[in-house]
Amino acid sequence: MANKLYPDAATALDGLLFDGMTIMSGGFGLCGIPENLIAALRDSGVKGITAISNNAGVDGFGLGLLLETRQIAKMISSYVGENKEFERQYLAGELQLEFNPQGTLAERIRAGGAGIPGFYTKTGVGTLVAEGKEHKEFGGETYILETGLVADVSIVKAWKADPHGNLIFRKTARNFNPMMATAGKVTVAEVEELVPAGSLDPDQIHTPGIFVQRLFVGRDYEKRIEQRTVRQRETA
């Protein structure tokens, strides 16, 4: 079997990085982000990254790490509201930003991985998002053309993997990770647990191994919570 297993994030990224590259990074907010791989990207010093990620992390965590070091030249995101350093760089003109509606972003990535160069959607018709895009009528309604997205490298975070690269995600940490796994020319996955081949139920694999070229077990997961909301236990 072709070996997909690597000891850690740095070796898993070895030979894949170059300045000016496009990287997709999984996660929603800080949930389900590839913590180890982001840290390894920072340590690699690779520059001029176009980062495709729903959010931009927070100051000092997630993609915020790569903003601090100015390794990101452009972000394609749907929401970046949790990051002061992002705001500073953007307002200073040091950072390019392309906003996509969240569902359009998700579908563009899914399309990129599925060999679909363009699709029509009603999302954004009549808004700034539609400017400069082809409009077309279907059944009397107006839609705009959105294009597929691919990346030089996709970095994703899963819960469990087997040595064939089959992945399973956990709860809402799934989010953008499965589509990004399909849309990277090379996809590197970090997981919490590596299980033996044959121990995942084949009906229940979220990402088939064909999409994962490199794989390692991550360590020291912080899994930070952005909004810790709780309810009170009712007392009798």
């Binding site: 907010g29 990535i109 809402t172 589509m179 309810r231």
Partner: protein, 210 residues
């Protein structure tokens, strides 16, 4: 006039048994506290979850289980998880019955603006454009007037739009305005206690039928 809780309770009366509903961040979240007895609704969270439960008890938070507002939540016996692409396929495909959102402005043609104020740092539209374009029915929960007392239900939106002609109902602290179909004019459905039609007209810019 309605309080925020009263507005949320009024919105909750629009819920029907069996509805699949997406609640926006802020005041719309309160609607979950007022779901009428005997009405069973399933909450969708656009980050990839159907069947959202309440906040967890302290100490039981799970970093892998958050809603679209990045708040810790819980699951129910009906819950399913899916990817963001599948989540927005569900939204875009018209499978969600109702979305309740906040807004900065709504126009009397159903336009909505709730994501961007020129000159201020733009945080992004998140899933709002997808929701207003895809969900079957859109209810806006907002204050009737802005802090400078200008009307938020307008002839035309002045802020960049989130969606064009998409709003079906506005529930403000003063009144409920609604229309039977996209493209139809808005009508006054209900006045909040202590609000009369003259007051409403004075504090409204957009056209509505009374």
């Amino acid at each position: 006039m309605w309080t925020r809780d009263s507005q949320a309770a009024r919105a909750a009366r629009e819920l029907q048994d069996g509805f699949y509903v997406n609640l926006g961040i802020g005041m719309p979240t309160l609607v979950a506290n007022f779901i009428p007895e005997g009405v069973d609704v399933t909450l969708q969270s656009e980050n990839g979850m159907l069947g959202m439960g309440p906040f967890p008890f302290a100490g039981e938070e799970d970093a892998d289980l958050i809603n679209a507002g990045k708040q810790t939540i819980t699951e129910l016996d009906r819950t399913s998880y899916f990817s963001s692409a599948d989540s927005f396929a569900m939204i875009r495909g018209g499978h969600v019955d109702l979305s309740i959102l906040g807004a900065m402005e709504v126009a009397d043609n159903g336009d909505i603006a709730n994501w961007m104020i020129p000159g201020k740092m733009v945080k992004g539209m998140g899933g709002a454009m997808d929701l207003v374009a895809g969900v079957k029915k859109i209810i806006v929960l907002m204050e009737h007037n802005a802090k400078d007392s200008s009307a938020k239900f307008k002839r035309a939106c002045t802020l960049p739009l989130t969606g064009k002609g998409v709003v079906d109902m506005v529930i403000s602290d003063l009144a409920v305005l609604a229309r039977p179909a996209k493209g139809a004019p808005f009508r006054l459905i209900e006045l909040a206690p202590g609000v009369d039609l003259d007051t409403l007209r004075m504090r409204t810019e957009g056209h509505f039928e009374a």
